[in-house]
């Protein structure tokens, strides 16, 4: 069982979290978005082997945040809340 650092609650058991998607999958707005681009947004994922950045939600406090971790070693590099992630370039 992994320990994930919730930016609000600190390190907690992975069972308390839900996966929210790959970080950086920005939503294209508008009905004129090309089908290809919309399909990418909906379905296409990088699924990297190694370092990755993901959105997770801590179900007990409701915080959505970006989590940097490694899909091979399961090492967690850190996390920032969604608001923080935007403020940081």
């Amino acid at each position: 069982m992994q320990l994930f650092p919730c930016p609000f609650c600190g390190p907690r058991d992975e069972a308390e979290f839900h996966y929210g998607g790959e970080a950086g999958n920005l939503r294209p707005d508008g009905r004129e978005v090309p089908a290809e681009r919309w399909a990418d947004y909906l379905h296409m994922r990088a699924n990297p082997k190694g370092a990755t950045k993901e959105i997770w939600v801590h179900m007990t406090c409701g915080e959505f945040f970006a989590l940097a971790r490694d899909t091979v070693t399961h090492k967690v590099a850190g996390s920032v809340s969604l608001g923080e992630a935007e403020r940081q370039p």
């Binding site: 069982m1 929210g20 294209p28 508008g30 009905r31 939600v57 399961h74 967690v76 969604l82």
Partner: protein
């Protein structure tokens, strides 16, 4: 003659406390401190079980968790445990043990004849033979003849197991010399320490092997160290197995209790783990090496020193390493006649009174129901009632490997040892390949890393500095039957067969032969098996590699893993605030989306179907009362609330006036209808999302996600108030009369409170919110009140309803009422492809200019298809029964049938006096009036496509 109890000695038995238990129906006498195995040995029992496949007689092999043969089904104080290891279960007075896979018992097993057919049933025999016509024809008889222990189907654990979460600085696994040295050092440095050991007492090998530490005998050092650890506040758990290491070094422990409690599961989050899990002795490959009376040499020493049981009178010790010399000497000292057969030419140590034959190996063991002698590789025959075997030591790398450690091959040990550093995990002692006691103690302290104390490790003398192990692997084409895996009955020939049939990956070997797949997970057999595979395929052992080590190290009862999550706590139902009130009213409950809700009332007199019909009919006549408390009530508050709900909903919501309600859909980003419901605008910046009862959690999560991702936490605040309010619904032609009688102090005339508007009032001292929304198609009022004050309001409604002949209805009747109106239930009348235009709500799609969730997907090729499945009503000819829910509308092209869609809801409408149905049918919206075939469970019927709404299409009843 065989094993016997000596008249003195035995460090762990208390001769003043005799113990007697039953094994296979006979009494076995022993002493307090005996295991079932040691007591059976002491009483001269040789055959303690039958093997999995061939029903070979089997005796005790080991003395710990590695035991492959001596499995017993145990009953004690009404508890039943299948496949317990006799070597780890303590002998107790009330205990009843039975051998496994034997009938009537291990000594007189009636399936023993199977062994004579063994040459015809090698590995994979079943796969190859019982293919035709059908494996299931043969399966019951084969399952009855093969297998291990028996589960008692009637027994049920009556108590929940405890589960503990534990945090400490250092977790030490194994309380042998390495583990205890580590614990002492960490404790001295001021760290919190937890030590676990799977035996009944700490000490490990020091409890039966010679050795001096800090000038004291090993056993004395153990006692002193344990006392000091306890004084320092170290938690020491015996009878506790660390069975798994999971991600981020979570260690899982299973603690066994002797007092009838179910096992306790520990989840431990240490900063540092020291693995001092020791090593397990391997068998040697000779023919008939599975006969009763053939034991691990170390186990025999264990029984001699701890339980004063001498394993035999004329003992042959077969060895390929130095560790057996102490065993041979001790057996001779205890009075046995001992011959040590060492495969190494120059025997490297002396064994006192034992005779040593160097450069020789045992080729075959003889005997029918137990070993009677051996023949050496030079043809010499030796008489023996016991053969003690040491085929080298296999470090218990299981936990290390689970933690993703990489193994390294050590030729001098003929074994794999930990080969890479792991974050936060140290390895020590025999696990790390250490043999000399002084090195074992040092490695324990070194395994602590930065958690080690400053003091030097304890000093020691004694125990051999090296084992000088000379590999003695099974060889291909050996004569006779050489057992590799005792528990799953895998022989060397089976491994060779697998190699011949090209199962050359060690993972394939395992699955084809079942090598290492029994309850012991191959603790004694795996290395011999893969060494033979290496030989047979011309590869080196490290080249062949090992199978993947997975938890658990030893079997863990499900009770322990489940903990309190059983029976009603497995998936607890949610109850209405008025749960008990409904019970008093005679409600029958069903579970709907996690909620326990009244399905109908008063079925006791008329039966459920009649009760539901009666409720649905009477609801249209005067007035119905319904508990709708489970409806979602999620508040959306803040300066951007209107912009937020516009984005969340398919329908434009920002144009809603305060005090008004609007029905709308929420879509997923795929454009699929995710939920429907009423949005209430309380004031400019405050909305209440009234979502489906079963969708509250997921809608709430979705709102939070978009709020945090797109709107920011300063602009919108979301609060799930669902459980804070009870919502009591009054519906029907006389609904207004009843609500007026409640005296809520709100203006209820249609001008002040029209359909789709809200009003505020008071009931007693409590504020109530009255929403004029309708799921029945009749004039309806939903009255929301603080959940803990709802009972009085409900009672008052019932009281005022009497004069109006009000009916209290359950959810089943409501389902009929809403279907009469063509109102949908998401997930029932829609599926994973239904878009809003399929439900006849196309306006927002065409007209909206602002962005909303799922918008782009409505314009994809899929979203634009003309043959999309659309919501329709389906009617049948007069006098016919309702259509089956799930029945398919079909069309024929040529000879082939094709589904047009299916029936989603179907009921008999008591008000209309005929069946009604809703369905999703291809291009259904443009096919009203068409008659189609409906197929259900092989029956064909006809139905006419209609508009979804079957009752009051003009909506007059809303204001009636």
């Amino acid at each position: 003659m065989s094993a016997r109890r000596l008249s003195s000695g035995g460090s762990e038995i208390d001769r003043s406390k005799p113990v007697s238990f039953s094994f296979d129906g006979r009494r076995v006498e022993g002493f307090d401190g005996d295991t079932i195995a040691s007591a059976l040995l002491a009483s001269g029992r040789r055959i303690v079980g039958r093997s999995f496949k061939y029903h070979r007689p089997r005796g005790i092999w080991g003395a710990g968790v590695e035991e492959p043969n001596a499995l017993v089904d145990i009953e004690r104080d009404g508890r039943s445990t299948p496949n317990a290891r006799a070597t780890t279960e303590l002998a107790r007075d009330s205990l009843v043990a039975r051998s496994v896979n034997a009938a009537p018992d291990a000594e007189r097993d009636r399936n023993a004849f199977l062994d004579r057919f063994s040459r015809f049933i090698p590995a994979a025999f079943y796969y190859k033979t019982f293919m035709w016509p059908d494996w299931h024809l043969f399966e019951p008889r084969i399952r009855a003849m093969a297998g291990l222990g028996t589960v008692d189907p009637d027994w049920m654990q009556d108590r929940s197991a405890d589960q503990l979460n534990h945090h400490c600085d250092v977790l030490v696994v194994g309380a042998g010399p390495a583990g205890l040295a580590a614990a002492a050092s960490a404790a001295a440095a001021g760290h919190s320490v937890l030590v676990v050991d799977d035996q009944s007492r700490p000490g490990g090998s020091l409890r039966h092997r010679a050795g001096e530490i800090d000038g004291r005998p090993g056993a004395q050092w153990v006692a002193d160290t344990v006392a000091a650890l306890e004084k320092a506040g170290v938690v020491l758990l015996s009878n506790t197995t660390a069975f798994g290491i999971y991600d981020h070094n979570l260690a899982a422990l299973n603690q066994r209790h002797d007092d009838g409690r179910p096992d306790t599961l520990w989840r431990v989050r240490p900063k540092r783990i020291v693995l001092a899990t020791g090593a397990i002795e391997r068998p040697l490959p000779f023919a008939n090496n599975d006969l009763p009376g053939i034991l691990s040499a170390d186990a025999a020493l264990h029984y001699l020193k701890r339980h004063a049981v001498l394993a035999g009178e004329r003992i042959v010790v077969a060895a390929n390493n130095d560790s057996a010399y102490e065993v041979a000497a001790s057996m001779a000292e205890a009075g046995a006649e001992v011959t040590l057969v060492d495969i190494r030419p120059a025997a490297s140590a002396s064994a006192d009174k034992a005779r040593v034959l160097g450069g020789r190996a045992v080729a075959t063991a003889h005997g029918r129901n137990g070993v009677e002698g051996v023949t050496l590789d030079n043809g010499t025959r030796l008489t023996a009632d016991c053969v003690l075997v040491s085929g080298g030591w296999t470090p218990s790398v299981h936990l290390y490997s689970q933690a993703k450690g990489k193994l390294a091959w050590r030729d001098d040990l003929a074994a794999f040892v930990p080969g890479s550093e792991l974050d936060g995990i140290g390895t020590a002692g025999a696990l790390a390949g250490e043999v000399a006691l002084s090195r074992v103690l040092e490695s324990g302290v070194a395994g602590l890393g930065q958690f080690a104390g400053k003091a030097a490790p304890p000093k020691s003398t004694g125990l051999e500095a090296s084992l000088n192990t000379s590999a003695a692997w099974p060889k291909p084409k050996a004569k006779g039957r050489v057992w590799i895996d005792y528990q799953n009955d895998v022989t060397a020939k089976d491994v060779e067969l697998a190699a011949r049939e090209n199962f050359v990956s060690v993972e394939h070997l395992k699955r084809y032969t079942t090598l290492g797949m029994a309850t012991d997970q191959g603790k004694t057999s795996n290395l011999n098996g893969l060494a033979l595979l290496a030989e047979a395929t011309g590869r080196s052992i490290p080249n062949v590699g090992t199978t993947t080590y997975r938890p658990p190290f030893t079997p863990v009862p499900f009770t322990s893993l489940i903990g309190a999550k059983r029976k009603s706590l497995l998936a607890p139902v949610r109850r209405l605030p008025l749960d008990t009130v409904h019970r008093v009213q005679g409600a029958s409950f069903r579970e709907y989306g996690g909620w326990l809700r009244p399905a109908y009332y008063g079925a006791a007199t008329s039966g459920s179907a009649a009760a539901i019909q009666d409720e649905a009919r009477r609801a249209r006549q005067s007035v119905a009362l319904f508990d709708g408390s489970t409806l979602g009530k999620i508040e959306v508050i803040g300066p951007c609330a209107a912009e937020f709900v516009d984005f969340i909903y398919y329908n434009t919501m920002s144009t809603l006036k305060p005090g008004r309600c609007r029905y709308g859909f929420m879509l997923s980003e795929n454009g699929v209808v995710f939920d429907d419901g009423i949005l209430v605008r309380l004031d400019e910046n405050r909305f209440v999302v009234s979502c489906s009862s079963s969708h509250v959690a997921s809608v709430h999560a979705r709102l939070e996600e978009w709020r945090q991702d797109r709107f920011g936490r300063d602009a919108v605040y979301i609060h799930n108030a669902t459980a804070e309010y009870a919502t009591l619904t009054v519906s029907g032609p006389n609904a207004k009369t009843l609500v007026e009688a409640l005296g809520l102090g709100a203006a209820l005339d249609d001008a002040s409170l029209p359909h789709m508007a809200i009003a505020h009032g008071r009931f007693g001292g409590e504020e109530v919110r009255i929403a004029r929304v309708s799921f029945t198609g009749d004039r309806s009022y939903e009255v929301s009140i603080r959940a803990d004050r709802a009972e009085a309001l409900w009672a008052r409604m019932q009281q005022e309803g009497r004069a109006l002949e009000a009916v209290t209805i359950g959810l089943e009747a409501l389902m009929i009422l809403r279907a009469e109106k063509g109102f949908i239930v998401i997930g029932k009348d829609t599926d994973g492809a239904t878009m809003p235009q399929d439900l006849g709500v196309d306006g927002p799609r065409r007209k909206r200019v602002t962005e909303f969730v799922g918008r782009r997907s409505l314009f994809t090729e899929e979203g634009m298809r003309a043959d999309r499945k659309q919501l329709v009503g389906l009617s049948v000819a007069e006098g016919e029964a309702p259509l089956g829910t799930g029945a398919h509308g079909i069309e024929r092209t040529g000879g082939a049938k094709r589904s047009l869609g299916y029936v989603t809801s179907s009921y008999f409408s008591p008000t209309l006096g005929r069946p009604i149905a809703l369905g999703l049918i291809e291009a259904g919206a443009s096919r009203h009036g068409e008659v189609i075939d409906i197929q259900h469970l092989g029956m064909l019927r006809r139905a006419t496509i209609t508009a979804p709404c079957a009752l009051d299409p003009a909506g007059d009843r809303l204001n009636g």
